[in-house]
């Protein structure tokens, strides 16, 4: 066990920009970007909004040609519709830009001290100074306290504490050392103490920070598979409504001619429905709400991950996280606290509990392992035995644990008449042998207690003493067990409700593994797991069509991370692991995987919910616009005006204003994502259908009616 534990800050509070709420200032700040996005050369990528922009251009021309309050009102609101859509995207990108700016500060120009012809163990290598940008893969550099690491790489010599706050936002320094799973260093971070030799693994210009910047800025954003599919559906809907509107015109001309007595209005005349109104009908019907917010939803989803200090190398990986069927979790550090802890003293043969606790504590005073510390703490908590410092008993001689003896303990010399006393604790077989060697006779009772603890997956430590002149005897057993982190069972229950199977991976024997699996509430476990077993398990799950997510940090995890559909590597891990996975958790918190899955799901749900909302909106818009268009020709069609809107012009204007405003109103929702609680698919569907389906039908009826009343009140040219 390494002496220094990696910092594992609780990930409850995102360390970066506060997420969720939309600051109105953000809207204002993003306005220039939104205006730039009006450029048709970029807007065409969003077919729905591109059509709206073309419509707005067309109505602008019409308004100039044949000016009226109604025409200008519609034109202005059509432009606003496009602008609001751009604004949504610009705001989403703006958050990433703020993040990128922080990162850019970390990517300062540095000078590297390159070692020429370096070989391991070389005492005085030749050194030359080069610009960091000149570094190539496999160059070797030396970095000393106070210097900035010039590029991503692996420590090949030495150990140092490194300040990685520039990328993780976490101020506590971390230890980086050669060999093992904590060898990766990131360019732009600063060495605080000592000296390390680093072998550069990045290609020039492709450092981790460079990748981070382009990711959070959305520069390299590619549409994800579901987003592409949704775009196809939206394009199809746009085409069908485009056809419905265009083909309406000959019928309108025919109808107007048939009802020759009907007066010409701003809505319909002898040439059919006016261009302004046709465009209005089209914009009202095509799915503008989701079309406007779609890319903002995607960017914000990635951003939510970044706020939780997770970097995904692609949006595809985030979506895949939502689809995950199987979650592989390492036992240690993820499900359990990472170390076995003493939970109980079980005295035997009439030994007083206090006596056993005292002996156990004495033998553990010098034991710096977490297990040893936990014995000291348990004795203090349960029996009020204050931990004595090692120095308090000056002549005590501590016997360290060795793999050979499988025991540790303490030898207390006889002082002031008291006989010398030796205490040993360790594996049952080893301690029993020691008791026998020292003239004692272990009872059956010890074996029973030991077996009982083993059967529940715990680890028994037998404590024995040998006082001079007496036979050695066993005092009792300390029950060490893996402590499952609090709240894990609930999380796994939530996973199960979401339809995700959790599998615990552990190197423990099957018996121990089963006990912990049951306590933590995971669905399955893989005991005595070797890296290749992990890979085989992932392949097996994938053969069955399941998507697998896992976390890992070691180089030997790399193949499994690469094979998994979602591979989250820990920032503390090796470069190989970071390269293999498709996400990096800067907090190095393996339980983050569960949050990642939720973010992935939330992303899809937000898209689905707003699509449903957008389509459901059409019903009310039909009832506003159709009677407004044709009631002048066929008065009976006023029967469709169930909202009793005051005039055709006001009805159409209200529908268009509602259509534009609803985008702004939904920007916060698009950025934050719809509320997500782990539950079954059926429960999610009924809730979201209720809120966004029925809500989507009802909301515009109310909104359009309110706008109609307001317009009639305040805009004289319309009623």
């Amino acid at each position: 066990m390494t002496a220094v534990a990696p910092p594992a800050p609780p990930a409850a509070e995102p360390a970066r920009i506060g997420g969720g709420l939309l600051d109105p200032r953000q809207l204002w700040k993003s306005l220039p970007d939104a205006l730039r996005k009006l450029n048709p050369a970029t807007l065409w990528r969003n077919p729905v909004m591109f059509i709206v922009e073309l419509g707005a251009l067309f109505t602008t021309a019409l308004s100039i040609q044949d000016s009226s309050t109604f025409a200008w009102l519609i034109t202005v609101w059509l432009w606003l519709t496009v602008l609001f859509a751009n604004l949504a995207e610009a705001v989403a990108e703006g958050r990433g830009k703020a993040q990128a700016a922080t990162l850019r500060r970390a990517r300062q120009e540095t000078v590297a001290r390159r070692l020429v012809d370096w070989a391991p163990g070389q005492s005085a290598p030749r050194e030359e100074t080069v610009d960091a940008v000149m570094l190539r893969q496999n160059d070797v550099v030396v970095v000393e306290a106070g210097q900035v690491i010039p590029g991503d790489g692996d420590v090949v010599e030495g150990v140092a504490s490194v300040d990685e706050s520039a990328i993780t936002g976490e101020s506590a320094p971390v230890i980086r050392e050669s060999g093992g799973d904590r060898s990766a260093v990131t360019g732009g971070t600063r060495v605080l103490s000592d000296r390390i030799v680093v072998k550069i693994t990045q290609k020039p210009g492709e450092s981790f920070i460079d990748r981070m910047i382009s990711l959070v800025e959305g520069a390299s954003r590619q549409k994800t598979p579901n987003e592409i599919a949704l775009n196809i559906l939206l394009a199809a809907l746009t085409i069908i409504f485009l056809l419905a509107v265009i083909t309406l015109q000959p019928v309108a001309i025919f109808s107007k001619a048939f009802q020759g007595a009907a007066p010409d209005t701003l809505v319909i005349d002898e040439h059919g429905v006016t261009g302004i109104v046709l465009v209005s009908l089209l914009v009202a019907l095509i799915p503008t709400t989701i079309g406007a917010l779609l890319s903002a939803i995607g960017i914000a989803g990635m951003d939510r991950l970044v706020q939780r200090n997770v970097l995904a190398t692609s949006g595809r990986a985030v979506e895949a996280a939502g689809d995950v069927n199987t979650l592989l979790l390492d036992k240690t550090g993820t499900i359990t606290l990472g170390n076995r802890q003493a939970t109980q003293f079980l005295p035997i043969g009439g030994v007083a509990p206090g006596e056993l606790a005292d002996a156990a504590q004495l033998s553990s005073l010098a034991d710096q392992t977490p297990e040893g510390r936990s014995i000291v703490v348990l004795a203090k908590n349960e029996h009020g035995l204050r931990a004595r410092d090692e120095g308090v008993i000056p002549s005590a001689e501590f016997v360290p644990f060795t793999a050979e003896t499988r025991m540790s303990g303490v030898d207390l010399p006889g002082e002031g008449g008291a006989p010398a006393r030796r205490i040993r604790k360790g594996a049952a077989a080893a301690v029993m042998r020691w008791v026998r060697e020292n003239g004692g006779h272990p009872t059956e009772e010890v074996g029973g207690v030991v077996d009982g603890i083993s059967a529940t997956g715990g680890t028994p430590l037998v404590v024995a003493e040998h006082t001079d002149g007496q036979p050695a005897r066993a005092l009792g057993v300390v029950h060490l067990k893996d402590v499952v982190k609090s709240g894990m069972r609930e999380r796994f229950d939530a996973m199960r409700r979401m339809g995700i199977r959790t599998i615990m991976i552990t190197g423990d024997n099957p018996l121990t593994a089963r006990a912990i699996a049951e306590e933590a509430g995971v669905d399955d476990f893989l005991a005595e797991a070797k890296p290749e077993d992990k890979l085989a398990l992932i392949r097996h799950e994938q053969e069955g069509g399941r998507l697998v997510a896992m976390t890992g940090d070691g180089t030997n995890d790399a193949p499994a991370l690469a094979q998994a559909d979602v591979g989250v590597s820990m920032n503390t891990g090796t470069s190989a692991a970071k390269e293999a996975g498709n996400m990096v958790d800067l907090d190095s918190d393996p339980t983050k995987l569960i949050e990642i899955v939720e973010i992935g799901k939330q992303l899809l749900i937000t898209r689905g919910a707003l699509t449903t909302f957008s389509i459901a909106n059409d019903i009310a818009k039909y009832f506003a616009i159709i009677p407004a268009m044709f009631a002048a020709v066929y008065p009976s069609l006023d029967g469709l005006n169930i909202m009793r809107l005051s005039s055709p012009e006001s009805a159409i204007t209200s529908a268009i204003i509602f259509n534009a405003l609803v985008i702004v109103v939904l920007i916060p929702l698009a950025l934050r994502g719809v509320r997500y609680r782990p539950s079954s698919a059926s429960a999610l569907l009924s809730r979201n259908l209720l809120v966004y389906g029925l809500g989507g039908i009802a909301a515009p009826f109310a909104g359009i009616k309110v706008l109609d009343i307001a317009i009639v009140q305040f805009i004289p040219g319309i009623s």
Partner: protein, 551 residues
């Protein structure tokens, strides 16, 4: 028994028997399309045609077979109608004009049976029997075959094979359509439908005039006209003609025959994908839409709003007294809910809103229950869209029966639901923007409804008509013929392409996170998608037609 009670009893007894047919006839159909044995007659046919019945086809091969077969049928039928005067049993009728020949051939090959001619005064017995009736069988079988291929796409994994079109076609004709038709024809003959090869009888009427009463092989054609949801009548008056549909109980039989296969297909779907609940769900969507439609047409017709119906106190214009309002309205709803297009009353004379419902039935894409085969694949394509939106809302890449619905699948489903409305709207607008609308015999909204109905019927392969326009001139024959061919075969490409892409996939195992596609919520969602996505597209044009007239 009042007429309304009789109408309700009529509908309820149909519902009961259709439910039984779903269960038992559906199982029979399932065995036919999944069986591995070939009868002696089938083996002989395969040897004659040179087909290896064991060889399965990928989707492009399946599609090529469908189109090759249909193209051959089209050419054959075109030749038949053009050369009729030179063939036996022509009853002295001349060949059709080129455009009418094209229209008729297109119409029968596409299972539309739009008739721009009057059967009894245009076609002789040979063309009727070995031209039209044969297409009534095989065009229906083509539809069923394509739907079975789509279901195989859902049911199979990691394969290119979607079955063998020639085997599907042969089995459906020999084991399903022929036997049921033989039994059905005998029943209809017992009910008074004529069946002979007579050239007609000249009789002297009471008033002393001479009337020519044409006879012919009616029953044999009548039964497949309904069973195969074809709809092309032997007589111009179609099922309103007493020789085609003499009594209320033959009327019941004909409606039942129309509904038999379309409503049994969801059962085949459920059985083939190994989850009967999936079949029940599709059946439920069909049934909800169908029952709503039957109730609406009945209500509008029984309420008889409108100047003339109000004054005579019933909407009886264009309806047969022997059927009454309700049995006519039910037949009208059923014939447009399926792709049949047979009529026992005259839609043009329906009340404005009563006439709108059949139009909407077709606009929905005829999915409730739709044509034989085409109804099932149409609804499954829309279910894919519903699954996609619903699937996103549960936070997963949408999947239907374990198959991921991603960009490729959505592309085909979107193109599918796009194509038919596009044909209807473009055809209708072209007619209305040109002088071709001048063949309209009515004015104003009603006149427009007739044009809209014509294109809706042609593009959706229904074949019924509002009539009221002269559609046998060159432009109309050509235009509606194109609508029928494009409206039939282009969607089939997308259906088969989707089937191919589904069959290739590795299935995703179901979990609690998987959207269950058999619960009422999902059923409601599919109904919603059908209505909001499809029907609302047509609301603007409906407003200027039947709604303007009827509100």
């Amino acid at each position: 028994m009042s007429t309304t009670v009789a109408g309700v009893f009529f509908v309820l007894s149909l519902v009961l028997f259709v439910a039984l047919a779903y269960r038992y006839f559906g199982d029979y159909l399932f065995r036919v399309v999944t069986g591995t044995r070939h009868s002696a007659a089938e083996r002989l046919l395969y040897r004659l045609v040179g087909v290896n019945p064991a060889g399965e086809q990928s989707w492009p091969a399946y599609a090529r077979s469908v189109f090759a077969f249909s193209l051959l049928s089209l050419l054959f039928l075109y030749g038949f109608t053009r050369l009729q005067s030179k063939l036996p049993l022509s009853l002295g009728f001349p060949g059709m004009s080129p455009h009418q020949g094209w229209n008729t051939a297109a119409s029968f090959v596409t299972n539309t049976n739009w008739q721009s001619y009057a059967g009894e005064s245009t076609l002789g017995h040979l063309v009727q029997m070995s031209g039209l009736a044969v297409q009534n069988f095989v065009s229906a079988a083509v539809g069923i075959a394509v739907s079975v291929a789509l279901v195989r796409g859902f049911a199979r994994n990691r394969t290119e094979a979607l079955g063998n079109f020639w085997v599907d076609l042969t089995r459906i004709v020999l084991r399903v359509l022929l036997p049921v038709s033989i039994v059905g024809a005998i029943v209809l003959i017992a009910g008074g439908v004529v069946q002979n090869l007579s050239g007609g009888t000249d009789v002297t009427t009471l008033a002393g005039a001479t009337q020519h009463i044409p006879g012919g092989p009616v029953a044999s054609q009548e039964v497949i006209k309904e069973l195969g949801t074809n709809g092309g009548g032997f007589y111009n008056a179609n099922s309103a003609h007493p020789f085609e549909n003499p009594t209320p109980w033959t009327n019941w039989i004909e409606i039942f025959l129309i509904l038999l296969i379309p409503f049994a297909m969801p059962r085949v779907f459920g059985r083939m994908v190994g989850d009967k609940r999936q079949g029940h769900a599709i059946l439920a969507v069909m049934a909800i839409l169908a029952v709503a439609s039957v109730i609406l047409v009945n209500t509008f017709e029984l309420l008889h709003n409108g100047t003339v119906p109000n004054s005579v106190n019933a909407a009886f214009e264009g309806k047969e007294v022997r059927f009454g309002i309700s049995n006519s309205a039910t037949f009208g709803a059923v014939t447009t809910l399926t792709s049949t297009g047979a009529v026992n009353s005259f839609f043009d004379s329906y009340t404005a809103l009563g006439g709108m419902v059949p139009m909407v039935n077709m606009m929905l894409g005829e999915v409730a229950p739709g044509g034989v085969g085409s109804g099932l694949y149409g609804l499954l394509m829309l279910a894919v869209i519903a699954v996609f939106v619903a699937g996103l809302m549960v936070g997963r890449t949408p999947e239907y029966l374990g198959k991921k619905i991603s960009a490729r699948e959505i592309k085909f489903a979107s193109l599918y639901f796009l194509i038919t409305p596009a044909i209807v709207l473009v055809g209708m607008a072209t007619a209305m923007a040109t002088k071709n609308k001048d063949t309209m015999l009515n004015v104003g909204p009603h006149g427009f409804s007739e044009v809209l109905y014509a294109f809706t019927s042609a593009a959706n392969n229904n074949g019924s008509a509002f009539a009221g326009i002269t559609v046998n001139d060159q432009w109309w024959d050509t235009a509606t013929g194109l609508c029928m061919v494009i409206g039939r075969f282009l969607p089939m490409v997308f259906v088969l392409a989707l089937a191919g892409s589904l069959a290739r996939q590795r299935p995703v195992p179901a979990s609690a996170g998987t959207l269950p596609t058999y619960r009422p919520l999902f059923i409601g969602m599919v109904v919603g998608v059908v209505i909001i996505l499809i029907a609302l597209t047509f609301l603007p044009v409906l407003a200027l037609g039947p709604l303007a007239e009827g509100l």
